[in-house]
């Protein structure tokens, strides 16, 4: 009878402790998971930022290349090679 009372008493004491420990562990795990996710997202953001800068730099380079290709000097040189000339005003037909 005495033994049973002790078991019951100890059970009532252990349960809140177990709950507390479980809650603490869960909180710790959730916190750790959040931290890991936070760091992981940080890496991803950083990666995306680097990608953005890389693409921006590439875009700038392509713009420069396009500008150089559109340079009037180059186009005039190519046109001359093709035998193209600037027409005289009397050769221009203006359509109504």
């Amino acid at each position: 009878m005495k033994k049973r009372r002790i078991t019951k008493k100890s059970r009532t004491t252990i349960i809140p402790w177990l709950a507390l420990i479980t809650f603490s562990m869960a909180e710790l795990l959730i916190y750790s998971w959040c931290r890991v996710q936070y760091v992981q997202t940080g890496y991803e953001i950083n990666g995306a930022r680097q990608e953005y800068h890389h693409l921006t730099a590439l875009h700038e380079k392509l713009k420069v290349e396009q500008a150089q290709l559109r340079s009037p000097e180059r186009i005039k040189r190519l046109a001359k090679k093709q035998g193209l000339v600037i027409p005289n005003p009397n050769q221009v037909v203006v359509l109504p």
């Binding site: 950083n46 930022r49 000097e73």
Partner: protein
Amino acid sequence: MKIYRKKKTNRTKWIRFRIGVVSIVLALSFGVIIGRAVQLQIFKQTELSQKAISQYKTALHRMPRRGTIYDRNHRELAVSISITSIYAHPKQVLSQKRTATTLARALNLEQQLLSERLSSDKGFVWIKRHATPREVSAIRKLDLDGIDFVAESKRFYPMKTLAAQVIGFCGIDGKGLEGLEYYYNRFLSGQGTKWTVFKDALGRSFNAQKPLTESQNGYNLVLTIDKNIQHITQTALSEAVKKFSAKSGMALVMEPHTGAMLAIAHAPEFNPNIFAQYEPQSRRNRAITDCFEPGSTFKIFLGAAALESGLCTRNTEFDCEDGRYKIGNSVVHDVHSRGVLSLQDIIKYSSNIGAAKIGNRIGEEYLFDRLKAFGFGTRAGIDCPGETPGSVLAPEDWSDMDALAICFGQSVAVSALQLATAVSAIANDGVLMKPYLVQAMTDQNGRIVKAFQPTRIRRVISSETAKTMGLMLERVVAKGGTGQKAALSGYTVAGKTGTAQKVDSQTNRYATDKHIANFVGFVPARDPAIAILVVVDEPRKQCYGGIVAAPVFSQIAKESLQYLKIPPELITPKETDSIRASTETSTWAG
């Protein structure tokens, strides 16, 4: 029993002694630990905290992107590109001599210079700024201790010499040093930003704090310059300067109705990507900063003043004294001797004697007032640095010779911009417009931050006078006029030639072999779309504006009008009908 008790007492004492010793040792150890903790936590707290922070936190500075400069059709004239620079932490370099030798070989630099830099006491020294991708790749492969890389921004001008003097250039730190780059530097440069990044054990960044200051890239500039017209103008001018072995040249193309500058060309040209290789003289925007005596092109404004005064009409006659006119001690000559000429013929044949007599009739004060109204002697207010106001003396400071010489464009100094702006006023029905180079400022998304509208300065002459002047200037380009070579098939042209003697800086007198040949006009004369000025300085083979500058005007006008899709106006209705008929026939046949 007694012996046993004694033994027990001794043992207890020994145990107590040992406990005491251990306690003391422990107390001392704790004392040392506490002392060390106090030293670290209290006395060295700041220093150690900083050290810890530096291991997991890095402050990053991002330089703002300098705004792009576009032409009027949003084509890039100046852009900023990312480029890598190489630097060193001299204290981290293991073998200075070996590193200097390796770097010198890879970067084609002087070994002595690199050795000096690497043996410096500084924590940071540049090895090479704006290195080429190949150089950067080579140095990365070498994996040298204490050598690192940093991304920087470099200004690049993809059109090279195109409008170089107008746009200007930037120094190695990206600061505008000349031209529009200098004038609009505070808008182009933007504002940098600074923020903190956390690093892991491998040095990888994984989190960034909110920037301490908001970043703002520089604004873009949209110019009024048209890269194609600029190219046409530069090519035509450079060819003329080369053909006549001239010292230099300038040419301007302007929209008379708005004051927008379509082209400002200089010869010789310079490449702003390698500006240090050129003389400062060739880098200046001389069309705006320098002034010169315009010669006979100034008769346009004398003629306009004469008509506006009401004292003359285009048919008022003056005796041109058969080419030689003496007033006091001064003698004025004409190139060709002529007798009586009307005002419009004085302009057509560019008679200096006739001009002097017109000036005498309208009076010094009135002439001076009209010249000031045309903008001579004052800055036009263009958005470019270093604009000259030119020089027009007040009538009370004129000598007898000045009063004569001003009438045919000597004893007066004007800038190319002033001359082009003033003739544009005649093309614009007598209204003077403020010349401008930037039509808008946009942000990095292309949204307009500020737009610049054409600005009317004042009405200089009446509409009627402007129209009459236009007709008179058409006669200059017609058969027998001094500017025949400016004539253009299919279009009416109004303009005036000018040939001015230059002052010899050594003798301080007009040199007989140094001239400025120029031509200024507008086209089409009846409905002007562009005003063009061509100035050629010290041509050697020929000196007359009608021979040296007028053909350049014609070439620029021809190509620019076609580019601007302005149809020829002098095709007869008969021709138009036949062209239309042939077009319709071919269309039906097709």
